[in-house]
């Protein structure tokens, strides 16, 4: 058999529910009827109900088959997934909505993630399947969402809160613009294995990969040296060269960043900012991480105005007030010393005590 190539993904036109096909581009408005339930109405008057449920993202084919069986019963065989890895049952028969939601509850699905809620955290592979992680991904997400489950299944927050996790600085998830970002970090420089460097690495490429210029050639050993005072453990050299591993049980852990935003609604997109430089890896439930995240969520929820995202709230009250209200100690690592650091320094004596 000769394999065909370059035929592309399945054509979406063959996968749309009839109500979508008939009202394509003609949607008039939507409303959030209750947590996890949306109603979209088209100009034609046609309705589409969406029931959103959380997913662990790492799922078995059995889970997919379960979902298919449910979608056959209630959704004429159509489902979709969201950009935050939620699952959506698309129901065109109004009478099937409540029975579907009741059935999903009996099966233990978490219905929610709509409106002013904490949606499904975007996350990476972690120890399950990545070669450069500084922490696990699925385990922390599970622990955090078990703890914050009430905010997924309800809409009692001031605004959306997007939590994301990346297990290293490569950031396979969009964590750098999240309301709360959990980011795996290393704290020890690479341990150079000269034999592997000699055998497997392109030395100029490894030198070029270092953002701080900490790597120099070591002609005597036909290898490399690292100026450890300049290394900030980004792991780029290891990505280029397997002879420079830096994972370490003591050095590795988690940092917490807050106030990022993707949407341009009201205010432009923002980067998340570092507020906790290090928390240890304590599997299986990472208690230091779950309590730090809950604290940040609750301080924001109890102080922000309606519709005010984490970053918008902090900009209004000022970062010094954020540290005051959250009780998070201000550590020297929070002060930028990379290339555009001075843009983050305060140039006015107008601040709060």
């Amino acid at each position: 058999m000769s394999t065909k190539t370059d035929f592309g993904p399945p054509n979406y036109k063959d996968l749309l529910p009839p109500v979508v096909e008939q009202n394509y581009g003609q949607w008039k408005f939507h409303e959030r009827l209750k947590p996890g339930l949306l109603r979209h109405v088209a100009d034609s008057g046609a309705e589409l109900y969406t029931v959103r449920v959380g997913s662990p993202r790492l799922v078995s084919t059995d889970w997919i088959r379960d979902v298919c069986a449910i979608a056959d019963l209630y959704c004429d065989g159509y489902v979709r997934f969201t950009s935050r890895h939620n699952l959506e049952f698309l129901v065109s028969d109004k009478d099937k909505v409540e029975p579907l939601m009741a059935f999903l509850r009996t099966q233990g699905y978490s219905i929610g993630g709509t409106g002013h809620a904490i949606s499904n955290p975007v996350h990476t592979q972690g120890w399950i399947h990545c070669h450069t992680p500084a922490t696990d991904a699925s385990g922390i997400v599970k622990a955090v969402m078990d703890d914050l489950h009430e905010y997924f299944v309800d809409t009692k927050l001031p605004a959306y809160c997007r939590i994301s996790l990346a297990c290293c600085l490569n950031m396979c998830g969009a964590v750098h613009c999240s309301d709360i970002a959990i980011l795996g970090i290393h704290r020890k420089p690479p341990k150079i294995n000269h034999e592997i460097v000699q055998a497997k690495c392109e030395i100029p490429n490894v030198i070029a990969a270092c953002p701080t210029g900490a790597i120099r050639p070591d002609p005597k050993n036909k290898s490399l040296t690292v100026n450890e005072d300049r290394c900030m453990y980004c792991g780029n050299c290891y990505t280029m060269c397997p002879g420079m591993p830096l994972a370490d049980p003591i050095g590795d852990g988690v940092s917490i960043w807050v106030g990022g935003k993707i949407s341009s609604a009201r205010t432009p997109p923002k980067f998340s900012r570092l507020v906790i430089p290090f928390l240890p890896n304590h599997p299986p439930r990472w208690p230091e991480v779950t309590s730090a995240v809950r604290n940040i969520v609750e301080v924001w929820a109890s102080h922000a105005h309606k519709h005010e995202r984490m970053g918008e709230w902090i900009e209004r009250i000022g970062w010094e007030r954020f540290f005051d209200l959250s009780g998070i100690p201000f550590e020297v690592q929070l002060i930028d010393d990379f290339t555009l650091a001075s843009e983050t320094f305060r140039s006015t004596p107008t601040f709060k005590w």
Binding site: V59, G139, A174
Partner: protein, 392 residues
């Protein structure tokens, strides 16, 4: 006693458990069982147990399969080779159950039975197959019409929001643009030939549900340039139902281009001052609709930190019509790729190259006129260039 007490703990609690999913797969697949055992070991050791890299693939393609090898193959032989397929998702992640079951059948036959629905870039991730299974698995995927996505220094699998499929804010046909662009650039998707990865993401409005601005080298964001359509009767209905139009909408409008006359029950928008941020439409979707003259803003340069720091995409085309076959966009995309391919160093993303050589050089190379919409604020330093042709 269980051999995986830490992972067992993560079957407790209300959030759906990935451990339960791994155990379900492990009932049928030895690889899934060894994956659990190796992960438990990582939880004990507090360190990952996958080796660095390894090049694997299928015939005719340079990407789409990620090589993964255990560093404890003697203890966990069933994951000694545990490679990943990135499978190109359909636009907007719409599926029929028939299509999903076909996918499950193929993956149950060849792989671990574990997947990510979906990966961070948007692909379907089929997690874990030995080297010998790769080509037969791809052959079967091809039979059911699923092609591979991108990996390495290629066009990565583009993604888009739900768009006109189910959203009244869709200013452009995100699903069709995605399918069209993906089909047009199959070679760029499947055969790494660029300095580094190149990501394209398409959002139908400024809410940016696929994070195009932070995450893509080339972002297409739907917008309009005429007036927001106002249904005053529906505005009055919001007020009658007790919705606080002044407090929740007018007061939060970033450009203060709106007024609400509570006595008359009417809303006035000074559209020329509106920056189309979507806040009012998000809150009053029954009364406000996007304008009729629709298109997209094109932004470039977004990326995560590696190598020289995270960047947000920035505007290079304030407004472009987006109608099939999207010729204007494709011509621009090809000019951008050509310039980047010509000038980019190894592992230099588009945004980093623009930073290094300057927006002036970039705009000239891709033949775009400067516009104030491209910047937040003009420069504050006097270090700028002139072309000798301009000094006469």
């Amino acid at each position: 006693m269980s051999e995986t007490p830490m992972l067992d703990e993560l079957e407790q609690g209300p959030w759906p458990s990935f451990v339960t999913e791994m155990k379900r797969a492990a009932e049928k697949k030895e690889a899934a069982r060894d994956l659990i055992n190796q992960l438990e070991r990582s939880y004990v050791d507090r360190i990952g147990h996958w080796k660095h890299g390894g090049i694997v693939g299928v015939k005719g393609y340079g990407g789409g399969v990620i090589g993964r090898y255990s560093d404890l193959p003697e203890e966990f032989p069933a994951v000694a080779e545990f490679h990943t397929f990135r499978v190109n998702q359909p636009s907007g992640w719409f599926y029929t159950t028939e299509k999903l079951r076909q996918l499950c059948d193929v993956w149950d036959k060849h792989g671990s039975g574990l997947t990510n629905m979906h990966g961070a870039t948007g692909d379907i991730i089929l997690l874990g197959a030995p080297t010998s299974a790769l080509q037969p698995c791809f052959d079967d995927l091809a039979e059911i019409g699923f092609d591979l996505g991108g990996s390495g220094s290629d066009m990565r699998t583009p993604s888009c929001c739900v768009g006109p499929g189910r959203c009244e804010y869709a200013c452009i046909d995100t699903l069709d643009i995605l399918y069209d662009v993906t089909m047009e650039y199959q070679n760029e998707l499947h055969r790494p030939m660029f300095p580094y990865k190149s990501k394209i993401k398409i959002s139908g409005c400024a809410n940016d549900c696929v994070a195009a601005v932070p995450r893509s080298d080339i972002a297409i964001i739907g917008t309009w340039r005429d007036q927001i359509q106002v249904d005053q009767a529906a505005v009055a209905q919001y007020a009658a139902e007790g919705f606080d139009i002044t407090g929740e909408v007018i007061a939060l409008c970033p450009t203060k281009c709106m007024e609400y006359d509570a006595a008359a029950g009417t809303l006035h928008i000074e559209d020329s001052e509106c920056n189309r941020c979507m806040h009012c439409l998000n809150l009053m979707s029954k009364a406000l609709r996007i304008g009729k003259e629709r298109g997209a803003t094109i932004l470039v340069g977004g990326k995560a930190p590696i190598v020289h720091g995270a960047m947000l995409s920035h505007v290079i085309v304030p407004f472009m019509k987006m109608e099939p076959p999207y010729t204007e966009f494709k011509e621009l995309l090809e000019k951008i790729w050509d310039w980047w391919d010509e000038n980019g160093k190894m592992r230099e993303r588009l945004g980093e190259l623009i930073n290094r050589l300057g927006m002036r050089t970039f705009l000239k190379a891709v033949d775009l006129p400067p516009a104030p919409q491209m910047i937040r604020i003009p420069r504050a330093n006097p270090y700028y260039f002139w072309d000798p042709e301009e000094v006469k």
